[in-house]
């Protein structure tokens, strides 16, 4: 609080403690062993923050507050229990939208009743610094909300993943952003904003909701991992901005943590796709895959194999590296794939899983899907840790992945995926490539030379069916 009565020391310390517990919650995620303790620290931190707030304010409406917590908490808890792991990206997008909306509501409440937040001067006028913090908080919150709603609809399939391109969208977007910033600056200088310019705060809010929609609709489905991470970051900055308004350490620390976390994840995702952050934001990727690349590929010789062949080859192998992609998860093949891996291990074959950072629909998604299927995490490796091992592998078993194995990313400068880091499956003695048909191309719409290599055997079938048949042949 900027003006009002000084905060007792223990209250400030309690918020600091909860901020530190949040840091520990993230710190725990450095390894799966410590992660669960980390999550408990996070819960404890939240409990401390909530209880501290309640005991240090005169609570005129405790019953209503408890009811609100019970309703929200119940919905959240049940959703968390029931949600399918494949639907995690949608869930996270939905949760981001709630943080955004909560930030908007808090900012609006602070605007309407600034006295309760201690952000007025002696005459009861909003402090100028608080106006800027509040304006930024409401704007970032609103952008997070509407942007996340669009991301949710796209990920959930309620809305086509294809980019929606408005004419002159860059002009509209930049104009709207400039208007928001200009209004926030004006907000600072108005003598008594609630009397002189009662429209101002709400205009900022409205424009921010609008820009959130406009920013995300032109971004294609393939770029959603970046968008989800980016919105994660925004939700953090929104919390931080409100933390400034309230002078609350816990909120500021958390906001900074979440903001950096989302920013780093966006960076990692961009790098894994070799996409510039600006070009993702500008949108339009994955519009319509031009037929040229696909057309050029017709009539190249390739080999087809059966489940029996695959089972035989893998049984003879010493080392098999499995490369799962999102297609594997779509086909719900993860459980039978794990069964296949277990049977191979019983035959004395060394089995490892190789994961590309963009294998799923959000950062780390494929790891969760494999963990759900009971694949031990110490058999699952990230790209940089396993890429050199393909040379010693007898078999690379690619299932539901495509672009992330495409050597064109290294060799063909004209390829849209040029520069993207790939898994070097082509170095394995034999590549088994599970794919529904030869026709379809990956997200990027480019043909994959791996299909036509002498040491590649195409297993054309649904991923789940193919694994089931291989399991049958192994048994």
């Amino acid at each position: 609080m900027h003006e009002a009565a000084p905060i007792p020391a223990w209250v400030a310390l309690a918020y600091l403690a909860s901020g530190i517990l949040f840091i520990l919650a993230l710190r725990g995620l450095s390894s799966p062993e410590s992660s669960r303790a980390g999550n408990r620290f996070g819960m404890l931190g939240m409990l401390i923050a909530v209880v501290t707030t309640l005991v240090t304010h005169e609570v005129a409406s405790l019953v209503e507050i408890l009811i609100a917590i019970a309703i929200g908490g119940g919905i959240g808890f049940i959703t968390a229990r029931r949600i399918a792991m494949t639907a995690m990206p949608q869930l996270v997008a939905a949760f981001h939208s709630l943080v955004g909306m909560a930030a908007v509501l808090v900012a609006a409440a602070a605007y309407l009743n600034p006295g309760a937040f201690g952000i007025t001067d002696a005459a009861g006028v909003l402090l100028p610094v608080s106006r800027v913090e509040m304006g930024l908080g409401v704007a970032i919150g609103a952008i997070t909300f509407s942007g996340s709603i669009i991301a949710f609809l796209k990920l959930n399939g309620n809305m086509s993943g294809a980019p929606i391109m408005l004419p002159a969208r860059h002009v509209i977007n930049l104009g709207t952003l400039a208007a928001i910033i200009g209004l926030v600056v004006y907000f600072y200088f108005v003598p008594a904003p609630r009397v002189d310019t009662p429209w101002l705060f709400w205009t900022v809010t409205g424009l921010a909701f609008l820009i959130g929609f406009l920013l995300i609709i032109p971004i294609g489905g393939a770029d959603m991992p970046v968008v989800v991470s980016m919105l994660n970051s925004y939700s953090g900055w929104a919390a931080a901005a409100m933390g400034f308004t309230l002078g609350n350490t816990a909120m500021i620390i958390t906001g900074a943590l979440v903001g950096s976390s989302g920013a780093i994840l966006s960076y990692i995702m961009c790098k894994a796709m070799n996409r510039g952050f600006i070009s993702v934001i500008a949108g339009g990727f994955g519009a319509a895959s031009d037929g040229d690349a696909a057309a050029a590929s017709i009539d190249r010789p390739w080999k087809r194999g059966s489940a029996e062949d695959a089972a035989f080859l893998m049984k003879q192998a010493e080392k098999v590296i499995i490369v799962p992609g999102y297609g594997m998860a779509v086909a719900q093949a993860q459980h039978v794939l794990r069964e296949m891996a277990d049977m191979l291990k019983e035959e004395g074959v060394q089995v490892k899983f190789a994961i590309h950072p963009v294998a799923g629909r959000m950062p780390g998604h494929m790891n969760v899907l494999l963990a759900e299927a009971n694949v031990p995490y110490d058999e699952v490796f990230e790209l940089e840790d396993i890429n050199s091992e393909f040379g010693q592998a007898d078999i690379a078993f690619v299932i539901g992945a495509n672009d992330v194995t495409n050597p064109a990313a290294k060799t063909d400068k004209s390829s849209p995926i040029y520069g993207m880091p790939i898994l070097d499956v082509a170095n394995a003695k034999t590549v088994l490539f599970v794919k529904r048909s030869m026709g379809g191309v990956g997200y990027a719409g480019v043909d994959n030379d791996v299909f036509y290599m002498d040491n590649t055997m195409m297993l054309l079938s649904d991923a789940k069916k193919m694994c089931e048949e291989i399991v049958k042949s192994l048994g």
């Binding site: 710190r27 959240g76 909306m101 409440a109 939700s235 500021i252």
Partner: protein, 97 residues
């Protein structure tokens, strides 16, 4: 607290966040997102203040905004921590037979 102290805390926390997040194993990036989601709902503190102030001093609308904010943030807090817990429970090591 004055603005500069708050700003100092914020900048320091950004650095802490930077280093802590880089040390998160990529295998846990999805739980990282869900847990950051849960903790960013610490914004509930603001909603509680608005709701706690009650209807006095023209706070009627603010109180209701606060209550809705509490409900939304609670979805996130309970949902975020619960789904993180659920995911983390799935990460198992190889059983040594």
């Amino acid at each position: 607290m004055d603005f500069i102290s708050i700003l100092s805390i914020f900048v320091m926390a950004c650095f802490v966040g930077y280093y802590v997040v880089w040390s998160v194993t990529p295998a846990l990036h999805t739980p990282l997102m869900s847990v950051t989601n849960a903790i960013s709902s610490v914004i509930i503190v603001g909603a509680l203040i608005a709701a706690a102030a009650g209807s006095a001093a023209g706070g009627e609308a603010a109180k209701w905004l606060g209550l809705v904010g509490i409900a939304l943030a609670s979805v996130n807090i309970f949902g975020g921590f619960a789904v993180t817990e659920r995911m983390l429970a799935m990460y198992k090591k190889k059983e040594r037979k």
